[in-house]
């Protein structure tokens, strides 16, 4: 019984980590239909930036997180403005943007490697200590991660629902010609979207690094997992990403408990296959 409860907690922890991995990806895809194959490296970059502010400028970690955000925003905007914007206008935009981000990812990964070296870096936990919930022990840091995921969803959904920019992003996501007709500057919105998504991704990288530690190539793992989660939950949907992440986190934790850690990927593949056959649009996705 206790091990089942523990597995449940583990599932929640993994689930919130996976949700963090998937958020930036789902935002960028949901609005611009660009599949960010540089996602993992952008996350890693966010982690390294926060780490730099934290260790070199001796800022408190939470403050260095905030300092990292505008840098990531700018990077996202620049990537859109000087590369993706042009690619999106050309035929075969789907795959050429994928490849561009892939190339950029490889380049960034190795630049990070040259600058920061190959040693594993750790970023501190947000809060220390742990609390007991009945018989189950949960680390405060892990609770904080779950709360951040929850807050993240609330903030993002409110942003998309209430603010003018957020509404415009949703409008662009749902109908580009429609957005043009009502006078939305689509390219500007895409620019904001990339900025926002890079910001969220960078932030998530810094959070993930507190659990996974940081090394330049680790981003690829995050990205592949992110893809699975986003597809599982429903492409481009924020609640979808979170639900997908939780389901996969639970699956991972109970598979490990019942069968062993090596069975996680095969179980995921089968779940994914079954889901796609029953609901090709993903768990939460509304339309295909």
């Amino acid at each position: 019984m206790e091990s089942i409860l523990n597995a449940l907690v583990s599932g929640f922890v993994s689930g919130s980590l996976y949700a963090i991995m998937a958020l930036g990806l789902t935002i960028i895809y949901g609005i611009s239909r660009v599949f960010n194959f540089g996602h993992g490296i952008v996350a890693v970059l966010g982690g390294y930036l926060a780490w730099t502010f934290f260790t070199r400028a001796s800022l408190p970690f939470v403050v260095s997180l905030l300092f990292m955000l505008p840098v990531m925003y700018l990077l996202g905007w620049l990537v859109y403005r000087y590369a993706i914007r042009g690619l999106m206008k050309k035929p075969n935009a789907d795959f050429s943007t994928v490849l561009f981000m892939l190339g950029l990812g490889i380049m960034l990964e190795n630049i990070i490697l040259q600058i920061f070296g190959p040693r594993v870096k750790a970023v501190p936990e947000l809060v220390t200590g742990s609390i007991m919930l009945g018989a189950i022990k949960i680390k405060n840091h892990e609770l904080a991660l779950m709360v951040i995921v929850l807050l993240g969803i609330i903030v993002l959904t409110q942003f998309f629902k209430r603010t003018r920019m957020g509404q415009a992003m949703r409008a662009v996501a749902q109908s580009i010609p429609g957005a043009g007709v009502v006078g939305i500057n689509i390219e500007r919105i895409f620019g904001y979207t990339f900025g926002l998504a890079f910001m969220v991704t960078g932030f998530s990288g810094a959070l993930l690094a507190s659990k996974y530690f940081m090394i330049p190539h680790i981003g690829w793992d995050w990205m592949v997992k992110g893809f699975v989660i986003v597809a599982f939950g429903g492409m481009g949907s924020i609640p979808g990403a979170v639900v997908g992440a939780l389901v996969l986190g639970m699956a991972e934790s109970f598979t490990t408990l019942a069968l062993g850690a090596v069975w996680v990927w095969p179980v995921w593949f089968i779940m994914f296959l079954v889901l796609l056959l029953l609901r090709p649009q993903g768990l939460v996705g509304g339309r295909n």
Binding site: E2, S3, N6, A7, V9, S10, V13, S14, L17, N110, L113, G117, P118, R119, V120, A122, S130, K137, K139, K211, Y212, F213, I215, H217, I218, D221, E252, S253, F254, T256, L257, G260, A261, V262
Partner: protein
């Protein structure tokens, strides 16, 4: 369409033909001795590769400053084997051979493929992969041809398993603690270096009457250990052994183990193969590592270490950060010694004959090659497996006594 085919193929072929020639445009001068160094400089093992390269740079610089080898200057050519993909190791091997290097020297470039690749060439290949795979290749070559150009200047990984099954069960007594049972948990990563060692340990321990109650294989990058820890607790293992080369995985395991059991306590010791020697481990695991036992066969144990550290710091401005900072130097030194004894660097057979006779007292111990597989002997008289316990935020050599310096085991904080 026909036009396209012609043009396309023309371009492809012209390009294909020219690029390899461009690679070897520059010829080699006769008065330079080339050291080929296949090592992981990018990818997941880049952290070790960096130390190997630094060790060789320092060695080459010092040797050149002292007048070179046989009066000739040394030159280092590195080859990045990335994430140790067989394909890459092959390509690097072919390239180094094509550049006519006089020796291939590395800390490791493993996965078992490197030995097969370099066995095809005449020059000596000197490595510390610590892999049975490699030893088997050399053994076969020796059986077939009477000799081999492969030399592994450290014991193979199974030595860890043999040593741990020999010694681990004696630790409780040294701590004054009685384990509640003979149950063992094995958590190993899916990588031959770790798997073969862990399986050897499990096999030998089982023969001694110990019982493997958890046998979990994980992938590199495993993060959430909760369910595995539950299994360990439910099965009531009193010896928890962890075999995973990646310091991130090891640190995560240790942190989660500590968090899970520090309050209520668990009657168990934790042992790790090799990994804590990687300097990041202590940074990442922090106080959670207090009380951890671990062992490694590549240790800076000789008297020359302090002086070596000084020279290293003078050159690079940082301390040697891995056991490969030392091990790689031993590989270099024993090759230099063999060349000097042979009096030639070009006659590979002569150099290999001298390498076989190696009895080198290096930074990591006394290196003597087993004539059957050219792997360095393990043991107190040769390369010792040194046990350490993490305590007070640092590693304390605890066994064998010659290295222990009076350190006595302490009961890990979670044993209550």
């Amino acid at each position: 369409m026909q036009g396209k085919i012609g043009k396309g193929l023309m371009i492809v072929c012209v390009l294909s033909l020219f690029i390899p020639f461009a690679v070897f445009a520059g010829g080699q001068k006769d008065d330079v001795i080339l050291i080929g160094a296949p090592m992981p400089l990018t990818g997941p093992y880049a952290s070790d590769g960096e130390q190997m390269r630094m060790a060789l740079e320092l060695a080459v610089e010092e040797k050149n400053a002292a007048g070179g080898l046989l009066g000739k200057q040394l030159k280092l050519i590195t080859g990045d084997v990335g994430a140790l993909e067989p394909e890459k190791i092959k390509a690097v091997g072919e390239r180094l051979a094509g550049q006519n290097v006089h020796v291939a020297l590395t800390g490791y470039a493993d996965s078992g493929v490197d030995a097969r690749v370099f066995a095809q060439y005449a020059m000596p290949y000197i490595h510390a992969d610590a892999m049975t795979e490699d030893a088997l290749v050399a053994r076969k070559q020796i059986a077939d041809t009477g000799t081999s150009n492969l030399f592994q200047y450290c014991p193979a990984e199974v030595a860890y398993g043999e040593d741990a099954s020999e010694y681990l069960f004696k630790v409780p007594a040294a701590m004054g603690w009685t384990p509640p049972n003979k149950n063992i948990a094995v958590v190993k990563v899916d990588y031959s270096y770790n798997i073969l060692a862990a399986d050897k340990f499990a096999e030998l321990s089982a023969a001694k009457g110990y019982k493997i109650v958890v046998d979990e294989t994980i992938q590199f990058g495993h993060v959430e250990f909760g369910p595995i820890l539950s299994k360990i607790k439910d099965a009531g293992a009193s010896f928890v052994t962890f075999w995973d080369l990646d310091p991130k995985d090891a640190a995560n395991f240790m942190k989660q183990f500590y968090d899970a059991f520090i309050d209520e306590g668990i009657q168990a010791l934790v042992y790790m193969q090799f990994t804590p020697v990687i300097p990041e481990f202590l940074d990442l695991a922090g106080e959670a590592a207090e009380g951890l036992l671990w062992s490694t066969t590549v240790n800076p144990v000789s008297d020359g270490v302090a002086d070596y550290d000084k020279r290293w710091i003078a050159k690079f401005g940082s301390e040697p950060a891995s056991s490969y900072s030392y091990g790689t130097r031993d590989g270099f030194d024993l090759w230099v010694a063999a060349v000097e004894r042979a009096g030639t660097v070009d006659d590979f057979e002569a150099v290999i004959e001298e390498l076989k006779k190696t009895d080198h007292r290096g930074l990591t111990g006394r290196i003597v090659f087993d004539p059957e597989d050219h792997t360095a002997y393990a043991g107190m008289d040769y390369i010792p497996t040194v046990w350490q316990q993490v305590w007070g935020g640092r590693h304390n050599k605890s066994f064998p006594k010659e290295f222990a310096g009076g350190y006595a085991y302490k009961l890990p904080p979670w044993v209550k």
